[in-house]
């Protein structure tokens, strides 16, 4: 169950184009599983930026000098995230977590490929640790537009059996996209499960590749959210349920991790006409 916590910044350090913030989190650190995320309030009690920003939890330390802490990875690309990376040690932050549905882990020691786009890779390292602890093989594929936008390459090399890097501009690793490299990784290591986190077009491509090969995939989506706790209905996307019916589901509580074959990737941003409760007359969206 999520909780609201008056947190303090323990540290903020740069990692390429990103910032890694370590925050006190009390018991949130004990209940966090890989794929969970945190909702962070921006700008203090009188802030004009009302909406919490969502960050997948990069790591946890259950017991330390500061009690439990959690790490998040922040890219400063708007006023809220710019404020956040400007926080210093001991600054207060209002956080809620752990939020969402985490990755599900295989019962058996299977072969797993973990795919991260940009700083979308943030939750994959904690996931890799859990998978390794279950005896799973872990191969990682990290991609970004350019080297500066990769996150966690060194960490990946410590944890994974193999690490494949791709950049659009060829500044590091193979030139191209993660999906250009993923096929070979899956073939070489007989991948049973693909885990992915990153921009939506990447998730769509990864999920399709996995489905084509009959491989199970789990994708953590990035949808814009207002509340993060399931009340506002802004972060919805079309997902096929166990009953075969498409519904607009909340990525904050029913996700952010979805089965790749259940999300209607090409329809994200629309209401497919066969969605439960879709408008009958106008027949869909805009």
């Amino acid at each position: 169950m999520p909780m609201q916590y008056r947190s303090e910044v323990v540290s903020s350090r740069r990692a390429g184009q990103y910032h890694v913030l370590t925050l006190t989190a009390g018991s949130i650190s004990e209940t966090t599983k890989p794929g969970h995320f945190l909702g962070v309030a921006i700008g203090g009690d009188e802030s004009g930026l009302l909406l919490r920003r969502a960050f997948s939890i990069h790591g946890v330390q259950e017991r330390g000098v500061f009690g439990g802490t959690v790490d998040i990875v922040v890219a400063a690309h708007g006023p809220g995230t710019r404020w956040l990376v400007g926080r210093h040690r001991a600054d207060p932050l209002d956080i809620i977590g752990p939020l969402g549905r985490p990755f599900s882990l295989p019962r058996d020691p299977v072969s797993c490929a973990l795919v991260g786009g940009g700083y979308g890779s943030a939750p994959l390292f904690m996931l890799a640790e859990h998978l390794r602890a279950r005896g799973c093989r872990v191969d990682m594929v990290l991609g970004a537009s350019t080297e500066e936008k990769l996150f966690g390459v060194l960490e990946a090399k410590r944890m994974a059996s193999t690490v494949t890097i791709t950049t659009d501009d060829g500044t590091l690793g193979e030139t191209g996209r993660v999906t250009d490299a993923l096929g070979k990784v899956m073939d070489d290591h007989d991948t049973d499960v693909v885990y992915a986190c990153g921009p939506m077009p990447m998730l769509a491509a990864v999920a399709d590749m996995a489905s084509d090969r009959g491989v199970y995939s789990q994708c953590a989506v990035e949808e814009s959210m207002a509340c993060g706790v399931g009340v506002c209905m802004t972060c919805v996307l079309p997902v096929i349920g166990d009953d075969g019916v498409t519904r607009m589901v909340r990525s904050c509580v029913e996700g952010p991790v979805f089965r790749g074959d259940r999300v209607r990737w090409s329809d994200v941003g629309t209401i497919p006409p066969d969605t439960l409760g879709a408008p009958a007359v106008e027949g869909g969206t805009r």
Binding site: P2, Q4, L50, V231, L237, M248, G269, I271
Partner: protein, 347 residues
């Protein structure tokens, strides 16, 4: 920003403790707390119950429910705005049958007071919803969301027309148990909100929820198009608070006895106090829940402290208190000075 603390010392003895009686009454409904959630900002209470005990607040106002399941609009559905947000959800919901079976049942079992918000495309939709709800126990009140396009009137919003508003309220009143109060939720996007307020009261509304969101729009300057898939959306949050306080004030002046549930950008106990002083009998906390999921209970506690600091022993004494400001100034003046206009100019 500075706030002058004005103690109503002439009328009330100062309070030294915070044991203020917070109970209030809204359209015949007795509430232990004046703070409610707002429709669309609390789902049906279950999610927020993780962050505070929802039975401690006045009531949970549920997200507007329609007769059938509804997918809502395409995304993006939301844009952040200065001290607010714009939303265009399109009333996504499971439909009344599923709502009764799951959400209402959960609220009943949890022991929370439930104000059920209903919305429709036609007058008949509202009538059907009221009929369906009539058979249900555990409904404290029905809030009628009339800020919906009337498909039988070229999509003109019911709340923007006194006749349409009146027709909906009559239909709901006729099909609702007389012991269950109905609240008409008014839109501020009208020329004179008191006209619509009066029409709703004459049609049988027991109280008024004031206000719904303001119609707004944001353009995405990177994509060079409207930020929301629905193009326009409802503006909410502290940005609209002065508009909401003004609407409550005007309705209280026009209709001195009508019960009012005030809302619009309530963030703190002092914000809630503004609404009470303007004439609200109870106050909803809406959009701020997205910022602080425990806001309703926090606002309740802050309001209790604020009332105590101002010498109120009972919350109900603060309702409409600001309307008496001219009379009170008059009482404290030198008896020789009877120039009311001069006093008013000093305000």
């Amino acid at each position: 920003m500075t706030r002058a603390v004005v103690r109503p010392a002439e009328a009330l003895r100062p309070q030294t403790h915070d044991e203020v009686d917070m109970s209030t009454s809204l359209a015949g409904l007795d509430l232990p707390s004046p703070i409610l959630t707002a429709s669309g900002c609390a789902a049906a209470g279950k999610e927020l119950d993780q962050f505070f005990d929802i039975t401690e607040i006045g009531a949970v106002v549920t997200k507007s429910i329609m007769p059938e399941p509804r997918s809502g609009r395409a995304t993006p559905r939301m844009a952040e705005t200065p001290s607010g947000m714009l939303n265009s959800i399109g009333l996504q919901g499971p439909g009344i049958a599923s709502f009764i079976e799951r959400d209402l049942a959960w609220l009943r079992q949890r022991g929370a007071r439930a104000v059920v918000s209903i919305a429709g495309d036609t007058v008949d939709d509202y009538a059907r919803l009221a009929k369906t709800l009539r058979m249900q126990e555990g409904i404290s009140a029905i809030e009628v969301n009339i800020s919906c396009p009337n498909v039988e009137d070229r999509g003109k919003v019911f709340a923007c027309d006194a006749g349409s508003s009146s027709a909906v309220i009559q239909a709901v009143r006729r099909n609702t148990d007389s012991r269950v109060p109905i609240l008409a939720k008014l839109s501020p996007d009208v020329t004179d909100i008191t006209t619509i307020a009066l029409a709703c009261v004459r049609a049988g509304a027991d109280g008024l929820s004031v206000i719904n969101t303001l119609l707004g729009m944001v353009i995405d300057t990177d994509r060079l198009r409207p930020a929301l898939a629905g193009v326009t959306g409802g503006l909410s949050g502290p940005a609209i608070r002065p508009v909401a306080v003004r609407c409550v004030w005007q309705i209280r002046q026009a209709l001195p006895d009508v019960p009012i549930l005030g809302m619009g950008g309530v963030r703190t106990g002092l914000d809630a106090l503004q609404f009470l002083l303007a004439g609200a009998n109870a106050v909803s906390v809406g959009t701020m829940v997205f910022n602080d999921p425990s806001a309703p209970l926090r606002v309740h506690r802050e309001l209790q402290t604020a009332l105590a600091e101002r010498g109120f022993t009972r919350l109900v004494d603060a309702i409409s208190y600001a309307h008496g400001y001219l009379d009170r100034d008059q009482q404290t003046l030198d008896p020789i000075d009877e120039d009311v206009d001069a006093v008013a100019d000093e305000q």
